[in-house]
Amino acid sequence: MKRIALLGMPNTGKSTLFNRLSGASARVGNWPGITVDLMSAKILIGGHIAELIDLPGLYDLHGYSDDEQVVRHFLCNNTIDLVMIVANSAQIDRQLSLALQIRALGLPCILLLNMSDEAKRAGITINTEEMSFKLNMPVVQISAKYGVRCPDALKAASLVLSKQKQHVDAEKISKQLQQDSNIEAEMEAIVEATVQMPMQLGDDLTNRIDKVLLHPWLGLPIFFAAMYILFQFIFNAGKPLQDGIAWLLAIFRTNALEPLLLNAPTWLSGLLLDGVYNGLGTVAAFIPIIVLFFLIMTMVEDSGYLSRAAFLVDALMAKMGLDGRGFVMVLMGFGCNVPALMGTRVMRSKNMRLLTMLVIPLSLCSARLQVFLFMTATLFTASQAPLVLFALYLVSFITIFITAMLFKNQYPNSEPFILELPPYRFPTGRQIWLRGWQEVKYFLSRASKFITIGVILVWALTHFPLDAAPASSATLAGKIGDCFSVVLNPIGIDSQLAITLIFGFVAKEIVIGALAVIYGLQGDALMHLMAQKLDWVQGMSFMLFTLIYTPCLSTIITLKNEAKSWAFAMLSIIWSLMLAWIVSFVFYQSARWLGF
């Protein structure tokens, strides 16, 4: 099978072209020696099936950035029949250098001048025939977004494909890069001869919008307002969808699965229903949130606002070793950690991404909020409860700050903070849906297995041995709770609450359900009992611990998938457990010492 690599600078619409050519058939593939995910798809080209690979965006082949290394590695370790170089027509005066570098490697290539629609609007004309002659490679001007002339691009590609393939070694890349100054001169000559640019450049509409959105005083308030609205939209629209899925799953359970397993032994129906089926339900609950999140994030990203958000808040984030885009993801983490972690892929520096992924699980997500709403309503008066909630949000921000400050030297960012501000664009509906679909597919294929295993494990812990009452102190979970009483007593958490913490490992919102199972009470009765059993200091300590102690199972699995490392996921768990204990200990002991 022929192999085609798609390569280009960031913000050239490379991925849009990839989606245009591949439809929804793309999948994430593993490549030898490469630690980031590359999308690939089988496409029909000139009567043959070829494999199309979307390489990360890069500025040149020097290999200073993580992405440049990935591309170099890929080019050296795989045979490639064709490189499709994608460039932004409106910026061809500087992007041509990449095409010249690739050509110098001797790889068969074609140059696709994308965003022809924008270039046309800006009054830029390019003589593609002349450019093709001077570059000695086919040049086609296309618009990937609207599908203009994409068939012509494929035709040109199929002609090149029939030629001999070339191999590249690392030495060739280094040797060729020393001729950078030649490339610069050649680029200028070619642009001079083939490109006509109007004197006055710059998108007027973009300038006018920027004047408002990047205003020295208005910019930040607008940013926070916009984030608040998007946040509310994602999670308010997501909630009924999640409830709907849970409702459907419950109906299927009571009407189909439970009658089916009526005669099965209790342990088997427990394993299948409370283990496997609930595990799948946990996975399913994330689908609406992930889809909505990426529908919105695709709009924020592709419209060009995300880079502008980075511009606005960078001053606040630079000290923490993070950047503005990380801040947006941390904010989104306050809704749900899982899509926020997946969203960090927009950051191209690996270390900065890891640091951001380390702090996101500390944000008080909506699942934790449910627990705190219940607990504060139980233990505090109506006037105190909002203050307690506010304090918990504050603690969440402080733990994020402390974690970033402590770990920023562990994950030093090697890449300079230089971002392009693209003109404002409207992504098409097709682009938005495709992204949402791809991300959900990715989450389901990577996460469902481990999440289900985790849920089964917790079910087993809380139901074995079989003669013990579920979730009682006689179960394995109860025994574990007893073992940890030495560390949990000093923070005011008794062994029954310890069992709920084991449940909370699956998903934080289960904590309340677990309390209901343990005490055999629900609603007001449960609240009443809790208020009797716990004083406010214990309750607060329990809430602080629940806030920080471990990300939920789905978050941990996502952490592992995104970082490609179990060790990193473990670090996140161990660090949050330690931090949770210290925070709860300091709170509980000083409150007691003060006489509360």
């Binding site: 040149d60 950035s65 005066d93 990047l214 910019g219 001053a315 606040l316």
Partner: protein, 80 residues
Amino acid sequence: MNPASTQNLSSLKPGETALISNIDADNSLFHRLAALGFRNGKRVELVRCASFNGPLHVRIGSTDIILRRTEASRIQVQTS
């Protein structure tokens, strides 16, 4: 004021333009800047600065770029 004075890109005022006269940066920063169009002799405009001493928004040719002050201070410009 001198007719042609050399200064840092970060010391320009919003709306001012200047010619790049020298880029004093390590390899990784130098190549990134070059790929984005920062080369000697090119005209650069400082569009705006973010609040709280934040990054700069500059324009070179058809490209708008944001960069932090530490990186911008590596770029010498000449105002005429």
